[in-house]
Amino acid sequence: MSAAKDVSVSAMAGSRWRVSEVAFWIVVLACPFLFPSRYLIMTDILRLALFTLSLDLILGYAGIVSLGHAAFFGVGAYSAGLLALHGIINEPVLALIVAGLAAMVLGFLTSFLVIRGVDLTRLMVTLGIALLLEALGERFSDITGGTDGLQGIEMQPILGQFAFDMFGKTGFWYSLIVLFVLFLLARRVVHSPFGLSLRAIKNNPLRASAIGIPVNRRLIAIYTLAAFYAGIAGALFTQTTALATLDVFSFERSADLMLVLVIGGTGYLYGGLIGAVVFKMLQEMFQEITPQYWMFWIGLVLVAMVMIGRERIHRWVLWLPNLVIRQITGRKAAVAVPETDAS
């Protein structure tokens, strides 16, 4: 068998839908019927999941550590807000795509800065870009509304059919469909030869370029795609909450995002989704204990996760599901421990 065929067979095998994946989405679909009164928080989780998926694409698959991913989220949020506020594009789905494209353009332009240099430089440049945008937003407060944010955004019905209601039911289904479509796309991307080459780059950029992978071009491509995803997440935020404030660019948002991804696990697509659920639940819990100081607990979780070791925690969590699967199907565990990342 030739090498190319070998790769395609293994890639095809990897991209097959597993039972656990189908089960996961069935559970997601069941959620609105199980908790009909909690649409708003569930929409919040979906949005966060999409945003985290975007970070996973660059951090988990390509190994780019970003401290300023909120930049793209913010651009998407403001694009969607401005489009709706000035009535340029009234149709939400179209506005969503345009907002995503705006973030994508920024992602493409800044990717050239990000592919240069080592981890530390990347951290600085990504953080710097987010801060720069925040400063710009403050400077041009006549456009962005300054610290008050954009006010009086009125969303038109989706596709002219489904109006946003006050319980957030439409917003929820809208977000869920967007998330699912983009998830399918991401799934396709990471299981393609392109996605495999990204993993090769992450594990060892030098070796990857030695076997003929155009490292920089691949990184630019995935960074741009991730920016598109983050922009869509930001636009969803604006559209479902009718709000866009300057804190969309804040460092805390980028840092929280990393925590979400790390909770869920990097380098597999469900990490972002699971992380978003766990993070929101943790946040609710901490806010109930100490409303003002929940930052402390988030910090503690971060420190504890790193000290114990992320892989170890994921092994503990996956022990029970794996045991169950082994007992039922009598084969090797289907729920994989996410990849460890190369330092």
């Binding site: 981890d119 600085m124 996760m305 000290m307």
Partner: protein, 289 residues
């Protein structure tokens, strides 16, 4: 014309302050390749120690400064022994997550203990106001900062270049493996340097309360500034970060004076431009590890 000199002077004072705040971080990054985003937390600790001593206990300002140094150094040393040393070999992602977690915890803790409002340290009256020197307005407090930080910089340079410890440290920064092979106890050198750097940050925090403002969000607000000093200055010598801090200080003060509306825009743009031009910093070595 005189305003130019005043701005220059203020910028230098600001820059020197940033240097004292950030030089510990330069060593951490250069020696252990450890991305410590929590460096500002140690500075904040020093600032609050000084504030409590001066405002509540009635200590004289100059007596409280050394204590700010020692308390921060002690916190740094104990955290290094308990937590940091386990993470030197881990990935940058882990280090970032860990130090961001520390920052969040420190912010919430200070907020809980001291309240979220900005704190002022009562400065002795001799340091208030400004005087004219050949028509250039010179703030007394800023002059004191320039003097203290200038002396510290000279002392640091002497320690680094003249003492046995300094040569060990330089050897360890240049090539940790070879240094270990030569019998230098690199972890010990590092632990000491880390504590010393935290102490300097604490001292800087105490001095900066008057100029930068001191509130629980200090570590988050100035994190980027410390990182700029280190990444732009490079971590191979003490001169690089020093010049980078001066550049940053003068740039920031001048930017805020001449184009106040652009705010921090100027600094970030300069930083990004420099990092594109020289990804390893203005004064950095060729290849980073």
């Amino acid at each position: 014309m005189t305003t130019v000199f005043t701005i220059l002077f203020d910028g230098v004072a600001y820059g020197m302050l940033l240097f004292v705040l950030a030089c510990g971080l330069a060593v951490t990054l250069g020696l252990m390749n450890f991305v410590n985003l929590a460096h500002g937390a140690f500075a904040m600790a020093g600032g609050y120690v000084c504030a409590v001593l001066v405002n509540n206990q009635g200590w004289p300002f100059f007596a409280a400064l050394p204590l700010a140094f020692f308390v921060s150094a002690a916190i740094g040393a104990s955290l290094e022994r308990i937590l940091y040393r386990h993470l030197y070999t881990r990935s940058h992602l882990d280090q970032v997550l860990f130090s961001v977690g520390l920052v969040f915890m420190s912010v919430a803790m200070v907020d809980y203990i001291m309240g979220s409002s900005r704190i002022f340290i009562m400065v002795p009256s001799a340091l208030e106001g400004q005087f004219d020197l050949f028509g250039v307005g010179i703030g007394r407090y800023r002059l004191m900062i320039v003097v203290i930080c200038g002396l510290l910089t000279i002392a640091l340079q002497l320690i680094l270049s003249r003492t046995r410890f300094g040569s060990r440290l330089r050897a360890a920064v240049d090539d940790p493996r070879a240094a270990i092979g030569l019998g230098i106890n690199v972890p010990q050198v590092f632990a000491f340097t880390f504590a010393f750097g935290c102490g300097l940050a604490g001292l800087g925090g105490a001095l900066s309360a008057e100029i930068l403002g001191l509130d629980p969000y200090f570590p988050l607000k100035f994190m980027i500034y410390f990182l700029i000093v280190v990444t732009v200055g490079g971590s191979s010598s003490i001169t690089g970060p020093f010049l980078a801090s001066l550049l940053l200080g003068i740039g920031d003060v001048a930017g805020k004076y001449y184009v106040p509306k652009m705010g921090p825009f100027v600094i970030y743009t300069i930083m990004i431009a420099i990092l594109i031009w020289r990804p390893n910093g203005l004064f950095g070595r060729g290849a980073a590890r």
